[in-house]
Amino acid sequence: MIESRRDFLKSCGALIITFSSAPVSLLSAQSPGPFGTHPSHIDPEKLDSWLAVGDDGLVTAYTGKCDFGQGILTAQSQLVAEELCVRIARVKLIQCDTSICPDQGTTSGSQSTPTNFNSENLALAAATAREALLSLAAKKLGEPVENLTVADGVITGTTGRHVRYEDLIGNKHFNLPLNGTAKRRSAADWTVLGKPIPSLDRTALMTGQFEFVHNVRVPGMLHGRVVRPPEMGATVVRVDEQSVRNIPGLVKVVVRKDFVGVVAETQYQATLAARQLAVKWHPGPELPPQKDFFDHLQKQPAHDALSVDSQDVDARLADATSIIRARYTYPYQMHGSVGASCAVADVKPASATVWSATQSAYPTRSIVGKLLNMPLDKVRVIYVRGSGCYGLNGADAVSFDAAILSQAAGKPVRLQFSRPDEMMWENLGSACTVQLRAGLARDGRIIAWDREDWVASMGNRPGYDQPGNVITGMLLGYEPELPEPRSAKPPAGKFRNQSNTVPSYFAGCIAGSCGGDGTIRSERALTHTVRSPFFTGPLRSPLRIQNTFANECFMDELCARANADPVAFRLMHLQNSRVIGVLKAVAQAANWQARSSPKAGVSRAGTVSGRGIACVAYEGNNGYAALVAEVDVDLETGTVQPKRFVVALDCGPISNPDGLRNQIEGGILQGMSRGLVEEVTWDSRRVTSVDWETYNSLYLDYETPTVETVFVTPADVPATGAGETAITVTPAAIGNAIFDATGARLRELPFTPQRVKATLVKSAQGGESV
């Protein structure tokens, strides 16, 4: 039986517009889950789960990857249009609605393009659909497929007879599995992909019409606020509901273990009630002092893991003519979304709908089901874009909180976090310290390299079953994911470099099989994961930016000791052609002059300038970037002003060069802000950087450096991620440029004027730096 897709869409899709709540049981039966994740009712093996052609010729595609400002709505609409040979205007891409979109887990880790572009999922669905339509047309036109051509959804035979997609399949199911051998269109034939198509959301954004999750309004909706503990680990002793009795419009004070919130008729009433509600809290434990935090980190029991260990590092270092040691530190940093997180939940006795800006629609559905004690198939999560998240911001927690408030109030609730709700309790980018040791041989090459890092970790994405990984779950009594102390096992299996723990210059050999990007065979990389006093979670380039800062700055220290040019010295220790490719490309584009650092004749006064370079194979194989930074350093104040960035990027075939440039420019400037000013602060009880006066970020008045972008695109390679690659190398390139300008080595991030000044003074006194 051919079921009308349109009817199916009507039954579910219309919800998005009307916010009515159709019974979730209308949805098709459960089938095995996709992508090695969890069961889903949308079978990703079936073409109809991904794509439908309406009788008006419009193509609706469904994806489990969502656009939160990185541009994939446009890029993946291009993908569908390209593979289906239709104009992009005929494609409507629906993202991350658990009642109609496939479960693609979380939109993260620079995986959206590799996942949907390369050979599976959305790309394969569109290619399968095109081939299926061609077969149907061949039958209808009585000509072999080879004779047919397609243009904008019209298939034409040699005789000139033609048929439209909608005549072949309009409003009907394909009833086909995805065809693993369906042919992708060749890049040489692209008319939509690879073009700088203007982002589809821009007009609505610029004219204030765009609907963010903050704008979702549901009939009968109330407003909520949460009342968070005043400090880490505090627990509720007593909530005095009488304290808010005088607030008009107050509907409910909600207390579930340590979770406290209020629901009122208006936002203003909810904010008043949250401010006024008297809660007695039992204090939490004292926090380790920020001043000595990295020393503290290094002394804690840790979960140890070796990425690589040739077991000869000490022996080889004994032969070195020169040994260099250094410790780098990277602070906790924040996602700090410009909009405090928001969600709307409509929890009814037997079903729930949550409008959420989560990156993880399906996992969020699972957690909401768990927290509400409601079966999975009764919960629907609809993705609506929030403020840019850069990873796990407050979007998941606010969605859980909204669901709890709505369930308690028995009405739809919109929950808006306050700025401190967002910043005091988000899952921070991990603090990390890296200790490195390497030796140079007589020939000037690196003979052995050893590195250990200590990473602070508590919680993570909640996934499908760990609500305790974010604040809401902890307040409800769920445990966060914590590192379990254990000693390291010898490295085994295939070499992986997911967190860029291993410098690009390591050979990466495990049991004789070498997967690293470099030539250094005497190598060890050991990671100690330590319990963090604060929640941590993925923040754009998680651990990759921390590790790369240490690895690439330390490489620069080795270059300086070898008196070598930083590009030539890197090339001497690299073997991955794609890292080499971006390094050479950026050196050429930046007009890099071969010489060692620091610059000769470094001035002792005024403003000096320098250049620095850094490169990375993101996650080992998910994008390649090399960046040259040119900076000015004011020697009196220690102020660093980047003037110019030149970046070379290799992410394989590019879906939309304009969108990609936007991502790279933003990534580099965000990396600059993180490198120069961003740092979470705390006292003995709580995070103290809880707004924009206490957490530093570069504002729009900052003197913006230029960013020049060069693409390197080898033939016949799959697409990789791109949004996290350039940011990864930014702090390191700036640090190396400061060294080039001044001869002072900055090993602590961020490079605040005070820190730079102090290092300059130490360096001038003949301290440890050069």
Partner: protein
């Protein structure tokens, strides 16, 4: 506590019945259904809630609605429409000067306000005016390019 308050927003008169202490932002979002001004921090630190009143940018998240009076309030959607964007919106569209776009009210309205007062504002003056506006996607390069483009077009 509720009072009837008349507001002039984007060329239209609205009567709302709210607590007069309610921040203007909440009234714009919840009572008038406007999407342009957005809650970023609620503390006048980021600019996401920016509106224009008497030619000045105002942080609507900290302005009580009672203080608005008869002044005309202009929000991002009051500048132009998708069909007929204001020239500064058009410049932002042409430059693709957004990523998530959450901060745009602050960026566009602040730039417009400074150029309305000072059409020949230098890059430095424009940047100074944007001192309290935060874009955490760091779309600075395109935003400043769009503003410059608008400023130049405005002069000729």
């Amino acid at each position: 506590m509720r009072e009837k308050i008349t507001l002039n927003v984007n060329g239209q008169q609205h009567v709302v019945e709210v607590d007069p202490e309610t921040p203007l932002l909440f009234v714009l979002n919840d009572d008038l259904g406007l999407r342009g001004p957005r809650f970023g921090c609620g503390m006048a630190q980021c600019g996401a809630c920016t509106v224009i009143m008497r030619g000045q940018v105002v942080r609507s998240c900290v302005m009580p609605v009672r203080a608005v009076g008869q002044d005309e309030v202009t929000t991002l959607e009051g500048l132009g429409t998708p069909e007929q964007p204001h020239p500064i919106q058009q410049a932002f569209i042409e430059e693709g000067a957004a990523q998530c776009g959450f901060c745009l009210s602050g960026v566009i309205l602040t730039a417009k306000a400074v150029l309305d007062v000072k059409p020949n504002a230098s890059d430095q003056e424009i940047r100074d005016a944007l001192g309290g506006v935060l874009c955490r996607c760091f779309t600075h390069i395109r935003m400043l390019r769009a503003i410059r483009k608008y400023a130049e077009a405005r002069r000729t």
